[in-house]
Symmetry: C2
């Protein structure tokens, strides 16, 4: 190669020279922020232990009570109250794994939960969907599938979620379709609702079909997860207990998340709300570990505050951030993976939705979150999934993923020679140091428009949310489902047909 | 007091029971995030020293070159290049104060710069103003005064800023009116542009009139500040040098801020851009400390990246955040207060403007920023000040201020008794623990709307930016200037009249 052609090839790098950051497996190198000194953290832990020992937890599920009895807890059948000795809690915390893998259809989609690893999960659970074209409306299966597609498309989303409730599908067969959609449109680890054993068992059976597993192969690894919300204060209901039991028994993941809104279902002080959260989570973890020692569980928190004038929940508040710092400390105190959230109470995918989501995301990330749920698409306190908000959130998540990358700072990066090569008052656009790096140096944004005001005006003065509208449409239009063996797809459809014929499985409460 | 009336008074606390957080004096308790190991940080510092010793800085101002000569630097008059020995830099860093007070009209408005203290400064320097009613247009003195009023109104803004350029005022007398506006509408420490000695001396004279100071009283304390932008790479121009000289001589504050855009005026690597930033800042600091050892200076940074396709500057990028972490480390390495920024390239006060501003604000805050400039109202890469964006930013700044407050966690906050008093599945709305705290427990938002979708729709489906429009108007309508002695106000007006008659002072370049 001549000197000249060498230079040319440096200045016009091949198409392959694109930025190479692996969003699929992220570690969070940021220093964790505490809300409490070590002794006050221990005081919160001890007070939570007093709550479950002295005050007790009401457990509505009989089988769960028998497990608690088996573990050595004091159970009053008449009142359904369960009192758990601190020694029992200490013992179950020994068996719960601090880090584990939840498996996807292919190894690249496996996700490690715990340690310094961080996984982002799309919006979970809203009954409504909204987009700029059609506004807010009831979710349908098509909407569910659309969000699954977006979640599969972006590497920075690591786990599928229940996302929008497909209200056009009958309750007794809805789970069959949401699970099939996750399995056929995505290779990522996925979600099953805990709405009674029959639904859960259907989900497990479909997982075995899709992943090609025997029952014992299935139970040896984690493939799917559920979220368990306690009925704060101090109550575990029938399907939630059943979910913990079924998932633990099968070696699948329970994310045990008290929804402790300070001033409503929890004390008005954030440390008090965290005491209640911790007590309820420890009770759920005790159940899981009693059913199967070593069952994968995630310490969940969703502590925020309410508007004391209206009782409305609020998210992304300073109280939320401080609670997130504290919740992360509590999770590390008991050496479990921690689930947090990115959330907002805003009714529109507007500026409020962004600053509240960003505040809660930063709070969770600096708290050391391992599993950040609702990280893309959440709106209106969780009642609505927004297509545009999903795209806006992806931009922030990708920014976080980039911030997590180590900043190379060897001597070549310090650029003394480059600085020498440019005269005072000059510029670095054309210098060798720039030319050899310019295609891969910086993150390329998804939504952000950095053009000047005139160019932006000429292209229609679109806001970020308006631009996001075009982005999700393009992705859905071009989406191609990951490969699935036609025999497996057929088997899944046959399973759905059979279970539908049998009447499906209505949700239990 | 009877038991009954006691309870009543508890349940209906007096109007005085409002949240009591002092936004006027904030300390940042968050752990600082690093971008570099200690040895790479030292390598950046050493490389910057090599840049100013071996490569040199071009200094266009003759008086500045003579000061550098006096300090012991090697000066080539023909090329205007100044080469500074590392020993000189080490010596001037000894004399620069790591923490100092900049004084307001009253003691409550004094601001400490340095240490763990954090000060927020409103938008500085844009030629344009925008609001939802009238769109983007040239700034006028009325706009300048409006932003001064908003900055005076909110305690979370600590320092006035140049804000919008009043383009309806002739250049030779513009400084008289912007300075008079800051002095008459606000009690906070304020800003003077470095556009040549005559303007600066006018500003100093007006400060002495407004604050009632003799020349020597004025020079004993810091009352005002200027921002010095180097002409990166490696150049200090005439008015910038003059600003450093004039401010240092008078004991006033220079914020020495290289504008090092990686890939344009600085190396494309963030560590390389920081090397250049550090070299230029150290040169400016050397000048200030040579003029007057102990002169208050702030280590400024504004390192970000550009869009390599268009050359447009970008803000709130992952690169910006990593550079902010590193810049904070460099400021602590030389033990000086650090100036950072909250910034965005967005053309509208939309979702992009919020996520970019939030990313840059979190980057600066976790980097340990002492003086966060452009913290409210910045838009379009600094070309426009937005009235609505100002309000949105205040919401975030107040949220940060609340996050900075220590979270009380004594035994009463852990709320064991409250948890005991509420049955499983019940709620905490009415319990004593809640009732005694509910009026002051939580931050009350400025813009956020937490009402449900129906209520929000009925009230017009306003976005946060639309609501912000009503908020700034109400504040301006109700604004009352702080008291000023009529004699002082008269003297200021007389000074302006006299200087105007004399022809004012056109900006120098």
């Amino acid at each position: 190669m001549t000197r000249r052609s060498k230079r040319r090839s440096r200045m016009r790098p091949s198409a392959a020279s694109t930025r190479d950051v692996n969003y699929s497996a992220l570690k969070n190198p940021l220093i964790r922020q505490p809300s409490f000194s070590q002794d006050r953290l221990e005081a919160i832990h001890q007070t939570a232990l007093r709550v479950i020992e002295e005050l007790g937890i009401r457990v509505l599920n009989e089988e769960a009570r028998s497990y608690f009895k088996q573990a050595g807890a004091t159970v009053h059948e008449a009142t359904q109250m369960v009192h758990i000795d601190p020694a029992i809690v200490a013992q179950v915390l020994e068996s719960a794994p601090s880090e584990f893998v939840i498996h996807g259809a292919v190894e690249e989609k496996n996700v490690i939960l715990g340690g310094d690893n961080i996984a982002f999960v799309s919006v979970g659970g809203p009954p409504y969907i909204s987009d700029l074209d059609r506004g807010k409306r009831n979710g349908t299966l098509e909407d569910t599938r659309n969000i699954i597609k977006l979640s599969q498309h972006f590497d920075v989303i690591h786990l599928q979620s229940p996302n929008v409730e497909p209200q056009d599908i009958a309750l007794n067969i809805r789970h069959l379709h949401t699970i099939e959609s996750q399995l056929s449109l995505s290779q990522k680890p996925f979600f099953i609702f805990s709405r009674g054993s029959p639904q859960v068992q259907d989900g497990f059976a479909m997982t075995r079909i899709a992943r090609g597993l025997s029952e014992s192969e299935f139970e040896q690894k984690a493939w799917c997860y559920t979220v368990i919300n306690t009925n704060s204060p101090r109550q575990l209901d029938i399907p939630m207990c059943q979910g913990i039991i079924d998932f633990a028994r099968a070696g699948q993941v329970s994310v045990i998340t008290p929804f402790t809104l300070a001033g409503a279902m929890a004390p008005i002080t954030m440390p008090g709300a965290l005491v209640l959260q911790h007590a309820e989570a420890l009770a759920g973890i005790t159940l899981a570990q009693t059913v199967r020692p070593g069952a994968p569980v995630v310490y969940g928190s969703f502590t925020s505050n309410v508007d004391m004038k209206s009782g409305s929940p609020a998210f992304g508040t300073p109280e939320f951030v401080q609670a997130a710092f504290g919740a992360g400390q509590l999770a590390r105190h008991i050496n479990l993976p921690w689930r947090g959230s990115a959330a907002t109470a805003s009714n529109a995918p507007d500026e409020q939705s962004v600053y509240e989501t960003m505040m809660s995301a930063w709070g969770s990330i600096l708290g050391g979150v391992n599993m950040m749920i609702h990280a893309a698409g959440w709106l209106e306190g969780g009642l609505t999934a927004s297509m545009e908000k999903f795209i806006l959130d992806i931009e922030s998540l990708q920014t976080f993923a980039e911030i997590f990358q180590p900043l190379k700072s060897d001597d070549a990066e310090l650029a003394f020679d480059a600085i020498e090569s440019v005269d005072p008052g000059g510029h670095f656009f054309g210098c060798e140091h720039t030319m050899s790096r310019y295609q891969t140096a910086f993150y390329q944004p998804l939504v952000s428009d950095w053009s000047n005001f005139d160019a932006w005006t000429e292209s229609g003065s679109l806001t970020a949310t308006q631009r996001a509208n075009g982005i999700w449409k393009k992705i859905l239009k071009e989406f191609e489902p990951p490969p699935m063996d036609p025999g497996v797809a057929e088997e899944l459809q046959a399973f759905i047909a059979k279970r539908t014929e049998e009447g499906g499985a209505p949700p239990e409460s």
